[in-house]
């Protein structure tokens, strides 16, 4: 009996810990947003961070997008031609990418590449007392170090998701039209007819912005909150990747439900 209550107490404590952490992270986000003036007034700082989060993620995003698109081409063709609908391949590839795979997979890749880098960097700055040094020099470290990284992530994510989708569609085109021989005209025209700018593309962009906010928020918070030791920073980096990935998948479900089903049941 004592063990059960101990387990329950342990669970209760974990839940309250997580809730407390969530509250703390929310206050952190609000403070960050309020003090974001510097990130925009001195846009140079944000530009530098866009380089590190966005530009350096380009290769992995483009290559992954290309491969995902090519696989979609192969798998899609295999299934569609069974129902004589192989000309709908363009539609399949485009909708899968623009609505789901682009934002989600690009988000996951972003979390593991850029998100973990941000956490490690901020955590390490904290561990080597650079953050304290900045504080003692009367420079707000959240405004100077954290906020530019946050906005860089939020701005980079939609661009990376769009690049992922574009690369994927190109990959699907390569496989479907060039390799397998689906009619080029049908590929593009059916795609254009079926993909709606407002419904599909805009919603995909909205998703990627939401994911960008979530991933970067988690990344900067974990970095700033990490215990100032080597072990603490490495654990925080892992937590960033895991929590961001789960957040992306959960938010994807919520957003998809809101955007693609309930909204237009007419």
């Amino acid at each position: 009996m004592g063990n059960v209550s101990a387990i329950l107490r342990g669970m209760g404590r974990t839940v309250t810990d997580k809730l407390w952490r969530l509250g703390f992270a929310s206050r952190f986000l609000v403070y960050l947003l309020v003090h974001s003036g510097t990130s925009f007034r001195r846009f140079r700082l944000t530009v530098k961070e866009i380089y590190f989060t966005g530009v350096l993620s380009l290769i992995i995003i483009l290559v992954s997008g290309l491969f995902v698109g090519m696989v979609l081409g192969l798998q899609g063709y295999d299934t569609l031609q069974r129902y004589g609908s192989s000309e709908a391949l363009g539609v399949l590839v485009a909708l899968s990418l623009v609505r789901e795979l682009g934002p989600v997979v690009a988000g996951l890749l972003f979390a593991s590449r850029a998100g973990s880098a941000i956490t490690a960097e901020i955590g390490l700055m904290k561990a080597t007392e650079q953050i304290s040094a900045m504080e003692m020099m009367a420079v707000d470290p959240i405004a100077r170090v954290v906020a530019p990284r946050f906005w860089a992530g939020v701005l980079s994510m939609p661009l990376l998701a769009a690049l992922f989708s574009a690369a994927g569609i190109f990959g699907g085109y390569l496989v479907g039209v060039r390799l397998i021989g689906v009619d080029q005209g049908a590929f593009w025209s059916q795609m254009q007819a079926a993909v709606d700018v407002r419904q599909d593309i805009l919603n995909g962009v909205i998703k990627s912005v939401v994911f960008g906010v979530a991933v970067t928020w988690i990344a900067v918070f974990e970095g700033y909150d990490a215990p100032p030791t080597a072990e603490g920073v490495s654990r925080a980096t892992t937590r960033t990747v895991v929590t961001s990935s789960l957040a992306i998948l959960a938010l994807d479900f919520v957003l998809t439900a809101l955007m693609f089903t309930g909204g237009n049941g007419k």
Binding site: M125, T128, E129, S132, M134, M136, A138
Partner: protein, 269 residues
């Protein structure tokens, strides 16, 4: 006169999560002095420095720095205070993504509107004062420990602060660098007309350069005086500290059970 005191601390108490760290500190630092705060590791001297810098708030007691009571400041007041202070962190804490030049120029660029060529002159002057004018384009990762410490020193005095604080400035340095830093601390203090607080446990170097010493042990000031007074002191803690004796008021053994009982316990298991 009261306003000659740059730092005035009375009955300062500080506890961290119900664990008392400072148990009633009384401390006065006059303008122009270089004061050492010495003690063993974990005695609370770094905490004291953080309270003076406004990073931590005292649990009880009064802390007045540059005429302001530190416990009640808003963030902008605190930042205004800090612009008159400079701090040298243990191991330097240089910004690793910037060059030596940018590190020293940091405060000038953040807090002033000086044109770049004027900043250039100032940065090179500060670096020259610490002997590293030729290293201005290096990155912190390319510097040795002693050099990094000196750059951090140049950075700390970039805006000619009124109060300069040093957290273990001699830690981990070779004898030559030790001598250099010690000399710089004194020289900069006098040439800038500033006041300096040096938290350290390096006795020999500090006694050469400071005007006054406070000894802190277990959260209290156990001894104080000029270097000459300290060398003559008969206070047991001071003697143990100065002579490096392994046992004395600061015990060798961490509190533990009776030795025999402990051994028996293990062998019985």
């Amino acid at each position: 006169m009261a306003d000659v005191d740059i730092v005035q601390i009375e009955s300062l108490t500080f506890a961290y999560d119900a664990r008392p760290i400072l148990k009633g500190i009384d401390l006065k630092i006059r303008r122009g002095q270089v004061v050492a705060i010495m003690g063993g590791s974990g005695c609370g001297k770094t905490t004291l420095l953080r309270i003076i810098g406004g990073v931590l708030t005292p649990t009880a007691g009064s802390v007045r720095v540059l005429g302001q009571s530190m416990g009640t400041l808003t963030q902008s007041q605190l930042y205004a205070q800090r612009r008159q202070m400079g701090m040298l962190f243990q191991f330097g804490a240089l910004f690793t993504d910037m060059s030596v030049y940018d590190n020293v120029a940091f405060q000038m660029r953040e807090h002033t509107n000086l044109p770049e060529d004027l900043i250039r002159d100032l940065v090179l002057m500060k670096l020259d004062a610490v002997g590293l004018r030729g290293a201005s384009q290096l990155m912190p990762s390319a510097l040795s420990g002693g050099m990094a410490r000196r750059v951090a020193l140049a950075r700390a005095v970039a805006l000619d602060p009124t109060l300069i604080m040093y957290d273990e400035p001699f830690a981990g340095l070779d004898p030559i660098s030790l001598g250099v830093i010690a000399r710089l601390i004194r020289k900069l203090n006098d040439s800038l007309g500033a006041t300096s607080i040096v938290v350290t446990h390096d006795v020999q170097e500090s006694l050469h350069i400071v005007d006054y010493v406070y000894f802190v042990s277990e959260g209290r000031v156990v001894a104080q005086g000029t270097p000459a007074e300290v060398r003559e002191s008969t206070e047991p803690f001071v003697r143990q500290f100065l002579n490096g004796e392994p046992d004395g008021p600061v015990a060798f053994q961490f509190p533990a059970r009776d030795y025999a009982a402990d051994l028996d316990g293990i062998s019985a298991a």
